[in-house]
Symmetry: C2
Subunit: 229 residues, 2 copies
């Protein structure tokens, strides 16, 4: 079987969650890293013509895009036996994991990014309040547990896995504070532990690279903002 | 076992797709219909405190929200034996169904609704062009097939199932034309046939109710638009 390939960018946590999943499954893969300075690669445009976004998984002739769809694909293709399960078995627990994964992406990640981008003070405060409210829901999901799935890393841990590393970068470059240890003690504790797991840690991009990327992106977006002269 | 209950609104296609799934599975259920004139019900607010949206499935003590999450839950809880399968078995085919379901909701449904809402002529044209581009992708998915899943109704047919009935209402009330028989012959043919299947047809809300609802909603949204005096 041909080795699995993932088209990624060096800074995207949507890509890192796929790497984590493949490592948990014990699967070998190679990365094709997009260089945004050169524009999107032919391979990316051909593989994901609809969204033209990373990550994309290339598996022996088939192509799967959209990170949460890829995670489910990986979990369903390599299951049983010694393969590490990402999603729980019980239908209700699976539904819960999917619900909160969608929430973590839509409300927490995009919510935080919205607060980062906001320039107007009132807009920023409103976006940050909304993000804090979303994080409060996530805090309740992890309370009293080591991982979102219980005792072992699971699907929702991978999806929320940007929080321990990328969130701090967003806070720094966007002038925010979200993951306060007093406000969100369980989430803070989970984040601190999650990032120390060797398999998780070894896939993390260097923090200064993320800071540079985020700073440049925010500056570019602000100069393009429609309310600018 | 207690009968399944779904909290719905009378006009939402996100709710109707759940009814279709339960009927395909041969499961009995009862509807609790929200009356938006009276505000959101206690039951809805208690059952889905995060999003406060319909549909919500209440199944013997557990609560599942978000329509595509509910569809997967139904398919995973009532599977095997005589139960009608919603998603295919093959991991890649499942990934494809999920990818296109997300696309159909995000790009086609919300894209069309965006074009409906737009008041400014240029904004409307841009939104409609984007919606047409999205429908062209969906057209390719149904080309040469009776259903998105092949020979039988599947998950993606249920998710795209708003097109045969609700899209015409959006076109009429929003002043658009999307589902042109010459431009999208396969999608048009699928829509015409899908709506005639008795199990599908019997769950459809009356068209005039949808027209009234959409007209009232659009008028309300327009009077609230931020660029209005």
């Amino acid at each position: 079987m041909a080795k699995l390939k993932i088209i990624v960018s060096a800074t995207s946590f949507f890509c890192t969650r796929i790497e984590w999943a493949l490592k948990l499954k014990g699967l070998e893969y190679e990365l094709t890293v997009e260089d945004w300075d050169k524009g999107k690669s032919e391979l990316l445009l051909k593989s994901n013509p609809v969204h033209k976004k990373v990550p994309v998984l290339l598996d022996d002739g088939v192509v799967v895009a959209e990170s949460k769809v890829i995670l489910e694909y990986i979990d369903e293709k390599w299951k049983g036996g010694d393969f590490y399960p990402l999603l729980p078995q019980d239908p209700y627990e699976r539904a819960q994991a999917r619900f909160w994964a969608q929430f973590a992406d839509d409300k927490c990640a995009f919510g935080t990014w919205g607060a980062c981008r906001a320039e107007d003070a009132l807009e920023k405060e409103t976006a940050m309040e909304a993000a804090l409210e979303s994080f409060a829901y996530l805090e309740k999901q992890i309370e009293g547990k080591n991982f979102f799935a219980g005792e072992k890393i699971g699907y929702l841990d991978l999806v929320a896995g940007w929080i321990p590393h990328w969130l701090g970068v967003m806070e720094e470059t966007g002038g925010l504070k979200i993951l306060d240890a007093e406000r969100f003690p369980s989430l803070h504790e989970w984040a601190r532990n999650f990032i120390e797991i060797p398999l998780i840690k070894e896939c993390l991009p260097p923090r200064d690279m993320l800071v540079n990327y985020s700073t440049t992106l925010l500056s570019k977006l602000r100069s393009q903002a429609p309310n600018k002269p």
